[in-house]
């Protein structure tokens, strides 16, 4: 699914060069559940952005589903993001003026899918995520947990094979957080590759595989026997 070889990404912060990613090699198989952990500035988010084609490495190679992504056109990268990748953010990133349903349907809108098909897909997903009575509300009228579920629905609507979550529970209370995690793990159980960036050790330990990062490098790669999802 994912293959990184010697991927490097640096940033210029004033005078200082910061290594976001420093010569990272990584393979992730389809259906994996990976937690990326580490202190702030260790490169977790940079890794996630590179994996999500939001950011391009300065050096090294990245294959996504056997397609080399270096040198891809902006249009092709957008298409891969649309088709293969779902994003979940700590701060949800819902568009406030759109209703929950419109937010969920937005990726299909950009992909040019016709309204009947959009309705069909979104209503199935809305049903499944238990958002039925909230879809006409705007994000401002929803609780954090509901907002994150809308965001997950939006990430899932194009039926991606890779779900990237950046601190998905960071803004949630523990109960909503647990619900969101359960939902993500359920999706992973259906074969979706899930990569979660988190500060939260208890969340990190739930994953089948845990990467610890520091200074742009993966310093620890723990493979674990898969626990029971509800463990």
């Amino acid at each position: 699914m994912i293959r990184l070889r010697g991927v490097t990404r640096c940033f210029q912060l004033g005078e200082q060069r910061v290594m976001g990613l420093d010569d990272v090699d990584l393979d992730v198989a389809a259906g994996d559940y990976v937690a990326v952990m580490g202190p702030s500035g260790s490169g977790k988010s940079t890794l996630l952005n590179v994996l999500g084609l939001l950011d391009a490495p300065d050096a090294g190679e990245y294959w996504l589903q056997d397609e080399a992504t270096a040198g891809l056109s902006e249009g092709r990268r957008a298409e891969l993001r649309s088709r293969l990748i779902g994003f979940i953010f700590q701060s949800y990133h819902l568009i406030p003026r759109l209703t929950a349903l419109e937010n969920i349907e937005l990726p299909m809108l950009l992909a040019g899918i016709d309204p009947a098909e959009r309705r069909r897909r979104s209503s199935a997903l809305v049903e499944r995520l238990g958002l039925g009575d909230r879809i006409a509300h705007r994000p401002g009228e929803l609780s954090g947990g509901q907002r994150q579920r809308v965001a997950i629905a939006r990430a899932m609507i194009m039926q991606p094979s890779l779900l990237l979550a950046d601190e998905p529970t960071g803004n949630l209370d523990s109960r909503s957080g647990a619900e969101v995690v359960a939902l993500l793990e359920e999706l992973n159980g259906e074969g979706l590759t899930l990569i979660v960036v988190t500060h939260d050790p208890s969340l990190g330990q739930r994953a089948a595989r845990q990467l610890n990062m520091r200074d742009g490098r993966i310093i620890e790669d723990i493979q674990r026997e898969r626990r029971d999802a509800r463990g």
């Binding site: 999500g52 939001l54 249009g75 298409e79 993001r81 649309s82 994003f87 568009i95 937005l106 016709d114």
Partner: protein
């Protein structure tokens, strides 16, 4: 993306930022209103003036004493005062083959008195032919009686407004009025025709030519109206008149003959240029609106970086992001332009009702105002929209403080 979805998304974007959208709508609307109102006024003035001159009729020539050069140059210094146009000159013109009728004219201000009411009135001495040439509509009584140019008779025709001012609601026909030191019996009252060619017939006193010459103590004619037998005779009539007068004036061509067409052409050019100039000035207001659109779109892009980043993260291409921002600008410009167009039409309609002027914005002004609004909006939104399109999604998605 489907066009309907682009439209809906842009509309949503505009409605999501109501005050910003209203402000821009206003700017574009005012620009379009300005173009339409100003060209409407310009065109109205043009149509009005042309209409006024058309009243003269295509077949009417005006003969003025003195040579009026329109080609510029210094007037002759050896001041030979031009000869007066005499009644005999007018009679000579009337005998020309291409001329149907001739009305000599003598005019001046005169105090008119009825009982204890008096006022200054523009007084014209002429003949009954004048009524036919200027198509004056006599509401009551008769025009001046048909008689020789040189004969005097103490009768007059008065304008409708003058009649009201002097006689009030009383019957004026058959009554006497005093003009200067002479008395005239009212034989006719003109209809309410109002202003025409700078003469307000409503306030006019018309008396026989010979009486006017005596009243003003002046022999020379103010001008001579000559009506040719048909449009084909205009040019030949002009030549004949010039030739006849030259002969009568010892070889000096000291008159000017004006036809409606020559006057119209001159005025038409001037007024069309005026309308264009005014339209140009109004177009500048659209340009200002365009710059405002650029500023506000720029601010919008800054405010909505998170949205742009998100759109990119969920699969929007740079082209789509640009399209969405340009779409918003275009939608704004179009609705502003249409609102401006409607409001402009309403104002022009009000102007027509209030002043009775033919105020119509020409089609080219309406179309170009809308197109110009759209064009400036797209032109000026292009830069900020491209900035939005180029935004790195990572940068855009970062929380505001860390950007």
């Amino acid at each position: 993306m489907r066009a309907a979805d682009v439209f809906a998304f842009c509309l949503g974007g505009l409605r999501g930022h109501r005050s910003r959208s209203l402000m821009l709508l206003l700017a574009v609307g005012i620009g379009v209103i300005a173009v339409n109102l100003l060209t409407g006024l310009g065109e109205g003035a043009r149509t009005f003036v042309l209409g006024e001159f058309s009243v003269l009729g295509r077949n009417t020539l005006i003969v003025l004493p003195g040579r009026k050069e329109t080609t510029g140059g210094m007037p002759p210094i050896t001041g030979l005062a031009p000869r007066d146009l005499s009644v005999q000159d007018a009679e000579a013109i009337a005998r020309l083959p291409g001329i149907r009728r001739v009305a000599p004219l003598q005019a001046g201000q005169m105090e008119v008195v009825v009982g204890n009411r008096n006022r200054e009135a523009f007084t014209m001495g002429t003949t009954h032919e004048f009524f036919a040439i200027r198509q004056l509509d006599v509401a009551q009584g008769q025009p001046l009686p048909a008689m020789e140019m040189g004969r005097a008779e103490s009768v007059c025709v008065i304008g409708g407004k003058l009649k009201r001012e002097l006689f009030g609601d009383r019957q004026a026909l058959g009554e006497w009025l005093r003009a200067g030191d002479r008395r005239f019996r009212v034989v006719g009252v003109l209809g309410e025709r109002g202003e025409s060619l700078g003469m307000d017939f409503g306030e006019m006193l018309i008396i026989p030519l010979a009486n006017a010459q005596a009243l003003f103590n002046r022999e020379g004619l103010f001008r001579v109206f000559a009506e040719v037998r048909g449009p084909a005779f205009v040019e030949s009539g002009k030549r004949q008149i010039l030739a006849t007068i030259k002969e009568r004036h010892e070889g000096k061509e000291d008159i000017t003959v004006i036809s409606q067409d020559s006057m119209l052409a001159a005025f038409d050019d001037i007024l069309a240029a005026l309308t264009l100039a005014v339209a140009g000035i109004a177009a500048i207001s659209l340009l200002v609106a365009g710059i405002l659109i650029m500023n506000v779109t720029w601010i919008a892009v800054s405010q909505r970086t998170a949205e742009i980043g998100l759109l990119k993260a969920i699969g929007a291409t740079a082209g789509q992001v640009r399209l969405l921002f340009l779409g918003e600008a275009a939608l704004l410009a179009l609705s502003g332009a249409l609102a401006g167009l409607l409001l402009g039409e309403a104002l022009l309609w009000l102007g027509r009702q209030a002043w009775g002027l033919p105020l119509h914005a020409p089609l080219w002004a309406r179309v170009s105002a809308v197109l110009l609004a759209l064009f400036t909006a797209l032109l000026f939104a292009w830069l900020p929209a491209s900035r939005a399109a180029r935004l790195e999604p990572v940068v855009a998605l970062r929380p505001a403080g860390a950007r």
